[in-house]
């Protein structure tokens, strides 16, 4: 029944791949067209490539600031989350804690709630409650780094736990017998073995933080704005600059795309939230 006509499969998948890729290609086409050409007959092929949109976007101080913020927030959040998840998974795996499965389940539920529901409480907490004198958590990179823990930390614990659980306890015990302290066990035994899992967790949480929009749009105004928010601003305030908007979209897309090409398989396992065991 199977494996009989591979030609049809290839043709069909070529067609489906074109359907998948075309929207992204179209984004690129718009991003390299001058504004005057946009409103002529749309054409799929590129005659000339016009890089001015990128030059303009990359030369814009505000957008450069947003990109810088995005990099700082994603990197800070991914690092923090991975360290915390590593510690939490170690504790869940090695210590005999009362109700640890409940704690584990509770961390996961934090990711289930729709972000929109928490917009208002976060907004109020950030502007009215978490305030020290003149300083507010609102519109700070620190605030965003901590905030993104709500969805990234449960995810990181979820993905990292099998890795840590998979490291045999006998190794810890052997090291302890040889006189290693708990800290040394973690540093010399667990960490080197967990490194691949840690890397995947770091990368995935980085991408999630980079892609986040709704919370960033609500809880920042200028100082800590991220590139995804910058992209949406381009539409509402200067709706006619399609070329510039497309080039920001391409820039927003690039890091995730690069990472995707490197760790494609793990991203699949991560995005399906554990539903796929490859």
């Amino acid at each position: 029944m199977r494996a009989n006509r591979p030609v049809y499969s290839i043709l069909l998948w070529t067609f489906l791949s074109l359907l998948t890729l075309f929207p992204i290609y179209w984004l690129f086409v718009i991003s390299v067209k001058p504004a005057v050409e946009l409103f002529t007959t749309p054409s799929v092929l590129l005659e000339t490539v016009y890089w001015k949109n990128y030059v303009k976007v990359l030369g814009d101080d505000t957008l450069r600031r947003y990109m810088f913020n995005s990099i700082v927030i994603s990197t800070g959040n991914a690092t923090l989350v991975t360290i915390l998840a590593f510690m939490a998974c170690y504790a869940l795996s090695r210590f005999d804690l009362a109700g640890k499965e409940n704690i584990f389940f509770w961390t996961i539920t934090n990711r289930m709630a729709p972000a929109a529901v928490f917009l208002l409480p976060f907004f109020l907490l950030f502007t009215q409650v978490f305030v020290i004198g003149e300083w507010k958590l609102y519109d700070t990179r620190t605030g965003m780094i901590l905030l993104y823990c709500t969805f990234n930390l449960p995810f990181a614990i979820w993905t990292l736990r099998p890795t840590i659980d998979g490291i045999p306890k006998e190794l810890d015990e052997a090291a302890t017998v040889d006189g290693a302290t708990t800290w040394q066990v973690i540093r010399e035994v667990i960490f080197p073995l967990a490194r691949p899992g840690l890397a995947v967790t770091l990368i995935l949480t980085w991408v999630f933080a980079w892609n986040e929009f709704l919370l960033a749009a609500t809880l920042t105004s200028f100082n800590a704005r991220t590139i995804t928010t910058g992209l949406s601003e381009y539409v509402t305030t200067t709706g006619t600059e399609w070329g510039a908007m497309a080039s920001i979209a391409i820039i927003t897309l690039l890091p995730a795309l690069l990472i995707f090409s490197v760790v494609q398989r793990h991203i699949v396992a991560g995005l399906t939230f554990g539903a796929v065991k490859e």
Binding site: T20, L27, L84, L119, C149, L231, A256, Q264, I267, F273
Partner: protein
């Protein structure tokens, strides 16, 4: 070592919840005629039950989630079956097929906006020149709705394909061979052999996708901004619109609580369905 995790999730998970619950029982609009918090009991909730905008938004959200998830599961299953065949370049095509998953939702929204905006996008142009059809999602509510569904299908079908593919690959071969020997046709094999065996995977996928579809905001924000009118104003956008432009904090909190409650109930129902299926399989 768990303490930092519990502390952070406590501060950013439980405190906001308690706070929003507290505000929900108050009338509070800091930029309104009376800027102070006034306790008004269940007043906000009473108003919510008769709020036609809110009810419309729920209906549209459920409609959106239903159409999107339903099409994605069917398409995803068919594509997963196509990937079960052996052909050269399979891994390559699978990589391309997975690509949309990693694209930021806000970028997906931008992409589809650029594809569909009249006079820039290619879709209205082709529809016009081939079929003489005028597509304008700024005016046509049905088309705007349909496009949000199509966009969601483009973005998330790969997820369904991959989860179902994983399930299909892990199935044993014997039942299929047995069914073929017994002379079952393709449809019978699908209905009596494949479907019962991958049902847990399908339910799990529906569970994940439904949760995501119900909280869709970013893409739709970018594509239609909730319009035209309120045709694509799904719950997430609806909450945003009450809370921020109108600064009606008390009412917004009550809406948030109800939406959270509805989501949890749906989650729970699906979860029960999932577990019940598993339990059934264990008993005989």
């Amino acid at each position: 070592m768990l303490a930092p995790t519990i502390a952070i999730l406590g501060i950013f998970g439980i405190v906001p919840f308690l706070y929003v619950l507290y505000v929900a029982f108050h009338q509070w609009n800091p930029f309104g005629a009376n800027p102070y918090m006034i306790y008004n009991g269940a007043g906000n909730f009473r108003r919510l039950v008769f709020d036609s905008e809110f009810l419309t938004s729920i209906a549209f959200t459920l409609k959106f989630a239903f159409f999107a998830v339903f099409s994605e599961v069917i398409l995803g299953y068919l594509l997963a079956q196509l990937f079960m065949r052996e052909f050269p370049g399979r891994a390559f095509f699978r990589t391309i097929h997975t690509l949309p998953l990693i694209v930021a939702p806000i970028v997906v929204g931008s992409v589809w906006r650029l594809m569909t905006t009249p006079s820039i996008g290619i879709i209205p142009y082709l529809l016009k020149s081939w079929f003489g059809y005028d597509l304008n999602i700024g005016r046509d509510a049905t088309m705007a709705f349909a496009l949000t569904v199509i966009m969601d299908i483009w973005h998330w079908t790969p997820l369904v394909t991959l989860t179902l593919l994983a399930a299909l690959v892990s199935l044993p071969k014997e039942p299929f061979e047995q069914a073929q020997i017994d002379g079952a046709n393709r449809w019978q094999i699908f209905w009596h052999v494949t479907l019962p065996m991958i049902r847990p995977a399908i339910l799990a996928t529906v569970f994940i996708r439904l949760m995501d579809a119900l909280r869709t905001v970013d893409e739709v924000w970018m594509l239609t901004g909730g319009g035209p009118g309120a045709a694509t104003r799904y719950l997430g956008l609806h909450i945003w619109k009450i809370v921020f432009p109108k600064t009606d904090y008390g009412y917004g909190s009550a809406t948030s609580i109800i939406v959270l409650y509805l989501t949890l109930v749906m989650c729970w129902l699906l979860y029960v369905a999932l577990v019940a299926r598993r339990g059934q399989r264990r008993t005989p």
